[in-house]
């Protein structure tokens, strides 16, 4: 390569070029190779390529380049350091290929790679940073997972507590209902001992009120949210019970659209209807039968309309001046409790109409 009429190009290119045998003993080299090694040409030709390397690069060369040189007679861009005569190693990339026709002749090139080290160091720093970021991210994700797990645990706890509360509340409603049944039973036993018909009637009235209270708790027991229930189902059960205690020739009719109500509305309303219906049963039909109609309408503009009317004989003329009955006092008290007003109207018999603020849950 050097001399022998070799083109000037071979010596001018900024790449060290050489020819070697399969043991990588240099057969010829260009001027650039001598320059890279700081050696005269005669100290290059005939020597093993390995001997031009720093000790650590000989190590790299033996472990990395040699296996591939042995098996493929080639190596690509192996990063090595030349042991330059001036003592400063020169970083190079070694590429070797066999001659296309004569496999035992190898051609090699050494590219100066002074920037390679800095570049690789930058890569290493970037890689470390990436790994650190990745680890920080993994730690953050771990913390997030822990927080989520803790949150899930708290939600589970809270859900369990709520389920426990619901269970207890349902149990309380059940007990209240049972206790009211016990009260009813006691009232019944006492009523049987009483000979005075007025007294018996009074007991019956009380028992109806107690039933209405128990029925509210029965509805609450079956309620999904343990706070509200449908007034329609409640009133139809209530009237069914009242009907059972009425004479056969008196019929009771209920007209009510579905409406969600709570305890605060249902209890006074149930008692109010019980009072008005009981009253009608007592006074409207002194002889013969008739019909009692209960209607609950609304809400319209925040108001419910409750009508209880009968086809009976109407109010006695002197009623206004008479001493108010207990039933009427209870009615007024309940309407007050509901925050409404009540009046009697004209009709076939007696017609009560109450205007009540709609329940807040409706």
């Amino acid at each position: 390569m050097n001399g022998g009429g070799a083109p000037a190009l071979v010596d001018a290119v900024p790449v060290a070029l050489f020819e070697a045998d399969p043991d990588m003993v240099i057969g010829a080299a260009n001027a650039r190779m001598a320059e890279m090694l700081g050696l005269p040409m005669e100290e290059i030709v005939g020597r093993s390529f390995r001997s031009f390397l720093t000790r650590s690069s000989q190590f790299v060369y033996a472990l990395k380049a040699e296996p591939s040189l042995v098996t493929r007679r080639a190596t690509e861009e192996t990063f090595l350091e030349l042991d330059h005569r001036d003592g400063r190693p020169r970083a190079v990339l070694l590429t070797v290929r066999p001659d296309a026709d004569r496999q035992e002749r190898l051609y090699g090139a050494l590219f100066a790679a002074p920037e390679r080290r800095a570049y690789e160091l930058e890569l290493i720093a970037a890689r470390r940073l990436a790994v650190e970021n990745l680890e920080a991210l993994e730690r953050a994700q771990g913390a997030l997972q822990d927080a989520n797990a803790e949150l899930a645990r708290l939600v589970d706890e809270r859900t369990a507590a709520l389920a426990q509360r619901d269970l207890l509340l349902r149990e309380v409603y059940h007990r209240v209902k049972n206790n009211l049944q016990v009260v009813d039973g006691l009232l019944m036993m006492h009523a049987r001992k009483i000979r005075d018909p007025a007294g018996t009637a009074a007991f019956d009235d009380v028992r109806k009120r107690v039933f209405a209270l128990g029925l509210v708790h029965h509805q609450l027991m079956g309620s999904a949210d343990l706070k509200t229930f449908d007034i329609g189902a409640f009133l139809s059960e209530l009237t069914m019970h009242l009907q059972a205690g009425a004479p056969d020739n008196v019929t009771l009719k209920i007209d009510c659209s579905p409406l969600k109500v709570d305890l605060d509305f249902a209890v006074p309303l149930g008692l109010l209807i019980t009072e008005l219906v009981t009253n009608a049963m007592k006074h409207a039909f002194p002889s013969g039968g008739g019909e009692i109609a209960v209607a609950l309408e609304g809400p319209v503009e925040g108001e419910m309309a409750l009508r209880v009317s009968d086809t009976g004989v109407g109010l006695p003329a002197a009623a206004e001046d008479a001493k108010p009955s207990l039933g009427l006092a209870i009615v007024k008290g309940l309407v007050r409790q509901l925050g409404g007003r009540i009046e009697t109207g004209e009709g076939d018999g007696v017609r009560w109409e109450a205007r009540l603020p709609a329940p807040s849950v409706a």
């Binding site: 650590s56 790299v60 690789e120 290493i124």
Partner: protein
């Protein structure tokens, strides 16, 4: 790498797990079995020019050291592999899993000391053949290991610097698919990411090791093969092995370099076969 027949004769799950973790493969049949152990910077494919020749008359077992080749990195434990002892434990566990008796271990480079350490804690190994082995790579007083500490540190630094280049060398060659270069590139990439640290640790465990004091404990018949010129292991280190192992014989191969199993497979094959003829009934 010839496609090896992967036959499983064990039923134990943990045995299977060990064999799988090390990509253990085997080919051929006949006793005594031969185990081929690779060294630093390689995997079982380094034996590709010899595997089938050895397998013509016997069972040959190959595997990848943990952190190398196709081994399962999930099993990599930095503490276990801090020194060569962990690698020796692996060899013992693999021999146990395969229930091998009277086994021959042919070990290259650092595999030699791994095999020696393993032979001290199992009786499943009956003889050793070491190629380019060294009890210590660093010079120490009169002992010539070939390297100064600074050389090894420079080497470790260069390894780190030429990260991608090493990854290409160290990627599992058993999976090498020349007709699908993109697959190889991907493999190199994923492998280099996981293995840069592992390779450095293996290099450290290898080149900082000193097993000179243990040589006398191994009385197994041992063949030491060394090439005329080896940049990694000087002849003096090979002679030290021969002088301090009670039952060892050193044979200089007419070959150069650290990989005679690649550069001079015929010579290695002939030497090992002769040794086996001498030492097996």
């Amino acid at each position: 790498m010839p496609k090896s027949v992967f036959s499983r004769k064990r039923s134990s799950t943990s045995d299977d797990a060990i064999l799988k973790a090390h990509a253990v493969g085997e080919v051929g049949s006949g006793e005594p079995a031969l185990v081929l152990l690779h060294g630093f910077g390689a995997d079982q494919a380094i034996w590709r020019r010899l595997t089938h020749r050895f397998a013509e008359t016997r069972r040959v077992i190959l595997y990848d050291q943990m952190g190398c080749g196709a081994s399962d990195l999930a099993h990599y434990d930095p503490e276990r592999y801090r020194t060569l002892e962990g690698y020796a434990d692996d060899l013992v566990e693999i021999l146990d899993a395969l229930r091998l008796r009277d086994a021959t271990v042919v070990a290259h480079s650092v595999g030699g000391m791994i095999a020696l350490l393993a032979s001290l804690r199992t009786d499943r190994i009956a003889r050793l053949a070491m190629i380019g082995a060294s009890p210590r790579y660093l010079n120490d007083g009169a002992y010539e290991g070939g390297f100064e500490l600074q050389d090894v540190e420079d080497f470790l630094g260069m390894m780190e610097l030429d990260f991608q280049g090493w990854a290409k060398t160290l990627a599992p060659q058993v999976m090498d698919q020349p007709d699908r270069p993109e697959l190889v590139e991907e493999l190199v990439y994923s492998f280099s990411r996981a293995n840069a640290d592992l390779s450095r640790r293996f290099a450290k465990a290898t080149f900082m090791s000193d097993h000179r004091a243990r040589l006398g404990e191994c009385a197994l018949p041992t063949l030491l093969l060394q090439t005329r010129v080896d940049a990694v292991v000087p002849l003096t280190a090979a002679r030290f092995l021969a002088d301090h192992m009670p039952n060892a014989r050193l044979e200089i191969l007419d070959a150069r370099g650290h990989y005679p199993q690649l550069s001079a497979p015929d010579a290695v094959f002939a030497a090992v076969e002769t040794f086996l003829a001498e030492t097996t009934g």
